[in-house]
Symmetry: C2
Subunit: 210 residues, 2 copies
Protein backbone atom coordinates (compact mmCIF):
# COMPACT_ATOMS: atom_id res chain seq x y z
CA UNK A 1 0.00 0.00 0.00
CA UNK A 2 1.14 3.52 -0.78
CA UNK A 3 2.28 5.81 2.02
CA UNK A 4 1.67 9.51 1.41
CA UNK A 5 3.62 12.12 3.37
CA UNK A 6 1.41 15.18 3.24
CA UNK A 7 0.55 18.43 4.98
CA UNK A 8 -3.11 19.26 5.26
CA UNK A 9 -2.63 22.97 4.58
CA UNK A 10 -0.42 22.36 1.52
CA UNK A 11 -2.12 22.79 -1.84
CA UNK A 12 0.50 20.56 -3.45
CA UNK A 13 -0.33 17.80 -0.97
CA UNK A 14 -4.04 18.32 -1.53
CA UNK A 15 -3.63 17.55 -5.25
CA UNK A 16 -2.34 14.08 -4.49
CA UNK A 17 -5.01 13.37 -1.85
CA UNK A 18 -7.69 14.44 -4.31
CA UNK A 19 -6.36 12.13 -7.04
CA UNK A 20 -5.99 9.19 -4.65
CA UNK A 21 -9.57 9.68 -3.46
CA UNK A 22 -11.03 9.95 -6.96
CA UNK A 23 -9.07 6.94 -8.17
CA UNK A 24 -10.23 4.96 -5.13
CA UNK A 25 -6.67 4.05 -4.18
CA UNK A 26 -6.22 3.16 -0.51
CA UNK A 27 -3.17 4.67 1.19
CA UNK A 28 -1.58 5.31 4.52
CA UNK A 29 -1.30 9.00 5.38
CA UNK A 30 1.55 10.51 7.36
CA UNK A 31 0.93 14.15 8.28
CA UNK A 32 4.13 16.22 8.11
CA UNK A 33 3.98 19.74 9.51
CA UNK A 34 6.59 21.64 7.56
CA UNK A 35 5.98 24.70 9.77
CA UNK A 36 7.26 22.66 12.71
CA UNK A 37 10.34 21.52 10.78
CA UNK A 38 9.07 17.97 10.31
CA UNK A 39 10.14 17.91 6.65
CA UNK A 40 13.72 18.78 7.59
CA UNK A 41 14.46 16.01 10.07
CA UNK A 42 17.33 13.69 9.07
CA UNK A 43 14.78 10.89 8.74
CA UNK A 44 12.58 12.82 6.28
CA UNK A 45 15.51 14.27 4.32
CA UNK A 46 16.76 10.72 3.76
CA UNK A 47 13.45 10.07 1.98
CA UNK A 48 13.28 13.41 0.15
CA UNK A 49 16.42 15.58 0.12
CA UNK A 50 14.38 18.59 -1.02
CA UNK A 51 12.55 18.60 2.31
CA UNK A 52 9.14 19.00 0.70
CA UNK A 53 5.74 17.40 0.79
CA UNK A 54 3.94 15.68 -0.79
CA UNK A 55 6.06 12.58 -1.02
CA UNK A 56 4.72 9.18 -2.09
CA UNK A 57 6.35 5.89 -1.19
CA UNK A 58 5.62 4.07 -4.45
CA UNK A 59 7.45 0.85 -3.54
CA UNK A 60 9.31 -0.15 -0.39
CA UNK A 61 11.90 2.60 0.20
CA UNK A 62 11.28 4.14 -3.26
CA UNK A 63 9.99 7.68 -2.98
CA UNK A 64 8.45 9.97 -5.55
CA UNK A 65 8.40 13.75 -4.98
CA UNK A 66 6.85 16.70 -6.84
CA UNK A 67 3.07 16.78 -6.67
CA UNK A 68 2.49 16.83 -10.42
CA UNK A 69 4.85 13.89 -11.02
CA UNK A 70 2.87 12.01 -8.38
CA UNK A 71 -0.37 12.89 -10.20
CA UNK A 72 1.04 11.53 -13.47
CA UNK A 73 2.20 8.38 -11.73
CA UNK A 74 -1.13 7.71 -10.02
CA UNK A 75 -3.32 8.56 -13.00
CA UNK A 76 -1.38 6.70 -15.69
CA UNK A 77 -3.73 4.36 -17.55
CA UNK A 78 -6.87 5.77 -15.88
CA UNK A 79 -9.48 8.19 -17.25
CA UNK A 80 -7.81 11.00 -15.24
CA UNK A 81 -4.90 10.98 -17.72
CA UNK A 82 -5.53 11.49 -21.45
CA UNK A 83 -4.49 8.47 -23.51
CA UNK A 84 -4.11 10.35 -26.80
CA UNK A 85 -0.52 11.48 -27.32
CA UNK A 86 -1.25 15.13 -28.13
CA UNK A 87 -3.93 15.41 -25.43
CA UNK A 88 -1.58 13.88 -22.87
CA UNK A 89 1.07 16.43 -23.78
CA UNK A 90 -1.59 19.14 -23.50
CA UNK A 91 -2.32 18.07 -19.91
CA UNK A 92 1.41 18.14 -19.15
CA UNK A 93 1.64 21.61 -20.71
CA UNK A 94 -0.84 22.95 -18.16
CA UNK A 95 0.79 21.04 -15.31
CA UNK A 96 4.19 22.58 -16.08
CA UNK A 97 2.45 25.95 -16.39
CA UNK A 98 1.00 25.35 -12.93
CA UNK A 99 4.38 24.70 -11.34
CA UNK A 100 6.09 27.53 -13.19
CA UNK A 101 3.50 30.30 -13.35
CA UNK A 102 0.72 29.65 -10.84
CA UNK A 103 2.10 27.84 -7.79
CA UNK A 104 5.19 30.06 -7.31
CA UNK A 105 2.83 33.04 -7.08
CA UNK A 106 -0.48 31.91 -5.53
CA UNK A 107 1.22 29.13 -3.59
CA UNK A 108 3.94 31.41 -2.27
CA UNK A 109 1.38 34.07 -1.33
CA UNK A 110 -0.76 31.45 0.41
CA UNK A 111 2.21 30.04 2.33
CA UNK A 112 3.83 33.29 3.44
CA UNK A 113 0.73 35.44 3.90
CA UNK A 114 -1.61 32.95 5.57
CA UNK A 115 0.52 30.22 7.16
CA UNK A 116 3.77 31.85 8.30
CA UNK A 117 3.65 34.31 11.17
CA UNK A 118 5.44 37.48 10.09
CA UNK A 119 5.61 36.19 6.50
CA UNK A 120 4.27 39.43 5.00
CA UNK A 121 7.20 41.39 6.44
CA UNK A 122 9.79 38.74 5.51
CA UNK A 123 8.57 38.63 1.91
CA UNK A 124 7.53 42.26 1.41
CA UNK A 125 9.98 42.62 -1.49
CA UNK A 126 8.33 39.76 -3.39
CA UNK A 127 4.59 40.30 -2.89
CA UNK A 128 4.09 42.73 -5.77
CA UNK A 129 5.68 40.26 -8.21
CA UNK A 130 3.53 37.40 -6.87
CA UNK A 131 0.40 39.45 -7.38
CA UNK A 132 1.32 40.62 -10.87
CA UNK A 133 2.50 37.21 -12.09
CA UNK A 134 -0.33 35.40 -10.29
CA UNK A 135 -2.98 37.57 -11.95
CA UNK A 136 -1.23 37.02 -15.28
CA UNK A 137 -1.48 33.24 -14.80
CA UNK A 138 -5.14 33.46 -13.75
CA UNK A 139 -5.82 35.61 -16.82
CA UNK A 140 -4.36 32.94 -19.11
CA UNK A 141 -6.49 30.28 -17.40
CA UNK A 142 -9.59 32.48 -17.82
CA UNK A 143 -8.82 32.90 -21.53
CA UNK A 144 -8.60 29.12 -21.96
CA UNK A 145 -11.72 28.42 -19.90
CA UNK A 146 -13.76 30.94 -21.86
CA UNK A 147 -13.51 28.42 -24.73
CA UNK A 148 -13.15 25.07 -22.94
CA UNK A 149 -14.79 23.38 -19.95
CA UNK A 150 -11.53 21.78 -18.81
CA UNK A 151 -7.80 22.20 -19.44
CA UNK A 152 -7.05 19.14 -21.53
CA UNK A 153 -8.80 16.47 -23.57
CA UNK A 154 -12.21 18.16 -23.16
CA UNK A 155 -12.74 16.44 -19.84
CA UNK A 156 -11.71 16.47 -16.18
CA UNK A 157 -8.09 15.29 -15.86
CA UNK A 158 -5.04 15.64 -13.63
CA UNK A 159 -4.39 19.00 -15.29
CA UNK A 160 -7.56 20.28 -13.61
CA UNK A 161 -6.56 18.74 -10.29
CA UNK A 162 -3.14 20.40 -10.47
CA UNK A 163 -4.57 23.84 -11.31
CA UNK A 164 -7.48 23.65 -8.87
CA UNK A 165 -5.38 23.24 -5.73
CA UNK A 166 -4.06 26.79 -5.39
CA UNK A 167 -6.67 28.54 -7.55
CA UNK A 168 -9.55 27.56 -5.26
CA UNK A 169 -7.81 29.17 -2.27
CA UNK A 170 -6.56 32.23 -4.17
CA UNK A 171 -9.09 34.46 -2.42
CA UNK A 172 -7.51 33.56 0.93
CA UNK A 173 -4.30 35.33 -0.04
CA UNK A 174 -5.60 38.40 -1.80
CA UNK A 175 -6.47 37.26 -5.32
CA UNK A 176 -9.89 38.56 -6.37
CA UNK A 177 -11.50 35.97 -8.63
CA UNK A 178 -14.61 38.11 -9.32
CA UNK A 179 -13.08 39.27 -12.59
CA UNK A 180 -12.71 35.68 -13.85
CA UNK A 181 -16.21 34.28 -14.48
CA UNK A 182 -15.14 31.30 -16.61
CA UNK A 183 -12.58 30.34 -14.00
CA UNK A 184 -15.17 30.48 -11.21
CA UNK A 185 -17.52 28.29 -13.23
CA UNK A 186 -14.67 25.81 -13.74
CA UNK A 187 -13.91 25.78 -9.99
CA UNK A 188 -17.56 24.78 -9.43
CA UNK A 189 -17.34 22.06 -12.11
CA UNK A 190 -14.24 20.60 -10.48
CA UNK A 191 -15.81 20.66 -7.01
CA UNK A 192 -18.83 18.79 -8.41
CA UNK A 193 -16.80 15.87 -9.79
CA UNK A 194 -17.62 12.41 -8.41
CA UNK A 195 -15.45 11.54 -5.43
CA UNK A 196 -14.30 15.11 -4.86
CA UNK A 197 -12.75 15.75 -1.46
CA UNK A 198 -12.01 19.13 0.08
CA UNK A 199 -8.64 20.45 1.20
CA UNK A 200 -9.85 19.98 4.77
CA UNK A 201 -8.78 16.39 5.36
CA UNK A 202 -11.41 13.81 6.18
CA UNK A 203 -9.92 10.73 7.89
CA UNK A 204 -12.27 8.53 5.84
CA UNK A 205 -10.13 9.36 2.77
CA UNK A 206 -7.17 7.29 3.83
CA UNK A 207 -7.01 3.78 5.15
CA UNK A 208 -4.81 4.81 8.03
CA UNK A 209 -3.76 8.28 9.15
CA UNK A 210 -0.68 8.22 11.37
Amino acid sequence: MFTLYSMQRSGNSYKTRLALAQLGIPYRLVEIDILKGESHTPEFLAKNPSGQVPLLEVAPARYLAESNAILCYLAGGTPLAPADRIEHAGALQWMFFEQHSLEPNLGAAYFWLTLVKGGRELQSHAIEDWMEEGYRALGLMEKHLALHDYFAADRYTIADIALYAYTHIGHQCGFDLAQFPALRAWLARVAAQPGHVTMEFNPAEAVAAV
Copy 2:
Protein backbone atom coordinates in the same frame (compact mmCIF):
# COMPACT_ATOMS: atom_id res chain seq x y z
CA MET B 1 6.70 18.17 -40.41
CA PHE B 2 6.95 19.89 -37.06
CA THR B 3 7.43 23.64 -36.87
CA LEU B 4 9.34 24.87 -33.83
CA TYR B 5 9.06 28.49 -32.72
CA SER B 6 12.22 29.10 -30.77
CA MET B 7 14.65 31.76 -29.61
CA GLN B 8 18.32 30.92 -29.89
CA ARG B 9 19.25 32.54 -26.58
CA SER B 10 16.43 30.81 -24.68
CA GLY B 11 17.44 27.82 -22.56
CA ASN B 12 13.88 26.51 -22.71
CA SER B 13 14.00 26.60 -26.52
CA TYR B 14 17.41 24.95 -26.50
CA LYS B 15 16.00 21.91 -24.66
CA THR B 16 13.59 21.20 -27.49
CA ARG B 17 16.21 21.74 -30.22
CA LEU B 18 18.55 19.35 -28.40
CA ALA B 19 15.88 16.64 -28.16
CA LEU B 20 14.84 17.06 -31.80
CA ALA B 21 18.47 16.75 -32.88
CA GLN B 22 19.17 13.67 -30.77
CA LEU B 23 15.98 12.00 -31.89
CA GLY B 24 16.81 12.77 -35.51
CA ILE B 25 13.45 14.44 -36.08
CA PRO B 26 13.44 16.92 -38.98
CA TYR B 27 11.67 20.21 -38.31
CA ARG B 28 11.17 23.69 -39.60
CA LEU B 29 12.57 26.38 -37.31
CA VAL B 30 11.05 29.82 -36.86
CA GLU B 31 13.24 32.15 -34.83
CA ILE B 32 11.19 34.40 -32.53
CA ASP B 33 13.04 37.22 -30.79
CA ILE B 34 11.08 37.82 -27.61
CA LEU B 35 13.30 40.81 -26.82
CA LYS B 36 11.93 42.48 -29.95
CA GLY B 37 8.33 41.67 -28.98
CA GLU B 38 7.95 38.97 -31.62
CA SER B 39 6.22 36.62 -29.14
CA HIS B 40 3.57 39.24 -28.37
CA THR B 41 2.28 39.96 -31.86
CA PRO B 42 -1.43 39.14 -32.41
CA GLU B 43 -0.34 36.40 -34.80
CA PHE B 44 1.91 34.68 -32.24
CA LEU B 45 -0.51 35.13 -29.34
CA ALA B 46 -3.17 33.38 -31.40
CA LYS B 47 -0.84 30.36 -31.43
CA ASN B 48 0.30 30.65 -27.80
CA PRO B 49 -1.63 33.04 -25.52
CA SER B 50 1.18 32.93 -22.95
CA GLY B 51 3.48 34.68 -25.41
CA GLN B 52 6.37 32.32 -24.78
CA VAL B 53 8.77 30.17 -26.71
CA PRO B 54 9.37 27.36 -27.37
CA LEU B 55 6.17 26.41 -29.13
CA LEU B 56 5.78 23.31 -31.27
CA GLU B 57 3.17 22.92 -33.99
CA VAL B 58 2.45 19.22 -33.45
CA ALA B 59 -0.30 18.97 -36.08
CA PRO B 60 -1.72 21.57 -38.43
CA ALA B 61 -2.83 24.49 -36.23
CA ARG B 62 -2.34 22.44 -33.01
CA TYR B 63 0.29 23.99 -30.79
CA LEU B 64 2.09 22.64 -27.76
CA ALA B 65 3.76 25.01 -25.29
CA GLU B 66 5.97 24.52 -22.22
CA SER B 67 9.42 23.16 -23.01
CA ASN B 68 9.20 20.13 -20.73
CA ALA B 69 5.79 19.10 -22.09
CA ILE B 70 7.32 19.30 -25.57
CA LEU B 71 10.21 17.09 -24.41
CA CYS B 72 7.75 14.48 -23.08
CA TYR B 73 5.78 14.62 -26.32
CA LEU B 74 8.83 14.21 -28.56
CA ALA B 75 10.53 11.53 -26.48
CA GLY B 76 7.50 9.32 -25.80
CA GLY B 77 8.29 5.75 -26.85
CA THR B 78 11.99 6.49 -27.47
CA PRO B 79 15.04 5.65 -25.31
CA LEU B 80 15.08 9.30 -24.15
CA ALA B 81 11.98 8.61 -22.01
CA PRO B 82 12.00 5.82 -19.41
CA ALA B 83 9.43 3.12 -20.17
CA ASP B 84 9.20 1.79 -16.61
CA ARG B 85 6.35 3.44 -14.71
CA ILE B 86 8.32 4.44 -11.61
CA GLU B 87 11.35 5.53 -13.63
CA HIS B 88 9.15 7.59 -15.94
CA ALA B 89 7.64 9.32 -12.91
CA GLY B 90 11.17 9.87 -11.58
CA ALA B 91 12.09 11.70 -14.80
CA LEU B 92 8.96 13.84 -14.47
CA GLN B 93 9.84 14.57 -10.84
CA TRP B 94 13.10 16.16 -11.93
CA MET B 95 11.44 17.97 -14.84
CA PHE B 96 8.88 19.57 -12.51
CA PHE B 97 11.73 20.40 -10.13
CA GLU B 98 13.47 22.09 -13.04
CA GLN B 99 10.51 24.32 -13.85
CA HIS B 100 9.77 25.09 -10.22
CA SER B 101 13.17 25.37 -8.56
CA LEU B 102 15.88 25.79 -11.19
CA GLU B 103 14.52 27.69 -14.18
CA PRO B 104 12.76 30.46 -12.21
CA ASN B 105 16.13 31.24 -10.59
CA LEU B 106 18.93 30.46 -13.06
CA GLY B 107 16.67 31.15 -16.04
CA ALA B 108 15.44 34.44 -14.61
CA ALA B 109 18.99 35.49 -13.71
CA TYR B 110 20.19 34.57 -17.20
CA PHE B 111 17.35 36.48 -18.87
CA TRP B 112 17.45 39.66 -16.81
CA LEU B 113 21.19 39.87 -16.10
CA THR B 114 22.59 38.88 -19.48
CA LEU B 115 19.90 39.52 -22.11
CA VAL B 116 17.90 42.54 -20.97
CA LYS B 117 19.59 45.94 -20.96
CA GLY B 118 19.05 47.50 -17.52
CA GLY B 119 17.66 44.19 -16.19
CA ARG B 120 19.86 44.21 -13.10
CA GLU B 121 18.35 47.51 -11.95
CA LEU B 122 14.78 46.49 -12.84
CA GLN B 123 15.08 43.23 -10.88
CA SER B 124 17.38 44.33 -8.05
CA HIS B 125 14.74 43.33 -5.48
CA ALA B 126 14.68 39.74 -6.75
CA ILE B 127 18.33 38.87 -7.41
CA GLU B 128 19.19 37.77 -3.87
CA ASP B 129 16.28 35.29 -3.88
CA TRP B 130 17.30 33.95 -7.31
CA MET B 131 20.83 33.37 -6.05
CA GLU B 132 19.78 31.73 -2.79
CA GLU B 133 17.11 29.51 -4.37
CA GLY B 134 19.25 28.78 -7.42
CA TYR B 135 22.17 27.59 -5.29
CA ARG B 136 19.72 25.50 -3.24
CA ALA B 137 18.51 23.79 -6.44
CA LEU B 138 22.07 23.22 -7.67
CA GLY B 139 22.94 21.75 -4.25
CA LEU B 140 20.09 19.24 -4.55
CA MET B 141 21.25 18.27 -8.03
CA GLU B 142 24.83 17.85 -6.73
CA LYS B 143 23.58 15.59 -3.93
CA HIS B 144 21.76 13.39 -6.45
CA LEU B 145 24.68 13.32 -8.90
CA ALA B 146 27.13 12.32 -6.18
CA LEU B 147 25.31 8.96 -6.22
CA HIS B 148 23.99 8.71 -9.79
CA ASP B 149 25.38 9.40 -13.26
CA TYR B 150 22.03 10.74 -14.53
CA PHE B 151 18.77 12.00 -13.08
CA ALA B 152 16.43 9.13 -13.90
CA ALA B 153 16.51 5.49 -14.97
CA ASP B 154 20.32 5.31 -14.64
CA ARG B 155 20.75 6.71 -18.13
CA TYR B 156 20.57 9.88 -20.22
CA THR B 157 16.93 10.97 -20.58
CA ILE B 158 14.79 14.06 -21.11
CA ALA B 159 15.25 14.82 -17.40
CA ASP B 160 18.94 15.48 -18.13
CA ILE B 161 18.08 17.57 -21.19
CA ALA B 162 15.66 19.68 -19.14
CA LEU B 163 18.15 20.27 -16.32
CA TYR B 164 21.16 20.82 -18.58
CA ALA B 165 19.75 23.81 -20.44
CA TYR B 166 20.09 26.45 -17.71
CA THR B 167 22.69 24.69 -15.57
CA HIS B 168 25.31 24.74 -18.32
CA ILE B 169 25.01 28.52 -18.65
CA GLY B 170 24.76 29.19 -14.90
CA HIS B 171 28.26 30.63 -14.82
CA GLN B 172 27.18 33.33 -17.28
CA CYS B 173 24.83 34.84 -14.71
CA GLY B 174 26.89 34.58 -11.54
CA PHE B 175 26.50 30.98 -10.37
CA ASP B 176 29.86 29.50 -9.43
CA LEU B 177 29.79 25.79 -10.28
CA ALA B 178 33.29 25.14 -8.86
CA GLN B 179 31.73 23.91 -5.62
CA PHE B 180 29.71 21.23 -7.45
CA PRO B 181 32.15 18.62 -8.81
CA ALA B 182 29.55 15.90 -9.48
CA LEU B 183 27.40 18.39 -11.35
CA ARG B 184 30.33 19.51 -13.50
CA ALA B 185 31.13 15.90 -14.35
CA TRP B 186 27.48 15.38 -15.33
CA LEU B 187 27.56 18.48 -17.57
CA ALA B 188 30.51 16.91 -19.38
CA ARG B 189 28.68 13.57 -19.69
CA VAL B 190 25.64 15.29 -21.20
CA ALA B 191 27.76 17.28 -23.65
CA ALA B 192 29.42 14.03 -24.78
CA GLN B 193 26.15 12.30 -25.70
CA PRO B 194 25.76 11.20 -29.33
CA GLY B 195 24.05 13.86 -31.42
CA HIS B 196 24.60 16.63 -28.87
CA VAL B 197 24.15 20.14 -30.22
CA THR B 198 25.15 23.35 -28.50
CA MET B 199 22.91 26.24 -27.55
CA GLU B 200 24.52 28.20 -30.38
CA PHE B 201 22.22 27.20 -33.23
CA ASN B 202 23.70 25.42 -36.20
CA PRO B 203 21.49 25.66 -39.31
CA ALA B 204 22.27 22.04 -40.12
CA GLU B 205 20.09 21.03 -37.14
CA ALA B 206 16.82 21.95 -38.80
CA VAL B 207 15.52 21.17 -42.23
CA ALA B 208 14.55 24.79 -42.83
CA ALA B 209 15.24 27.84 -40.70
CA VAL B 210 12.90 30.72 -41.51
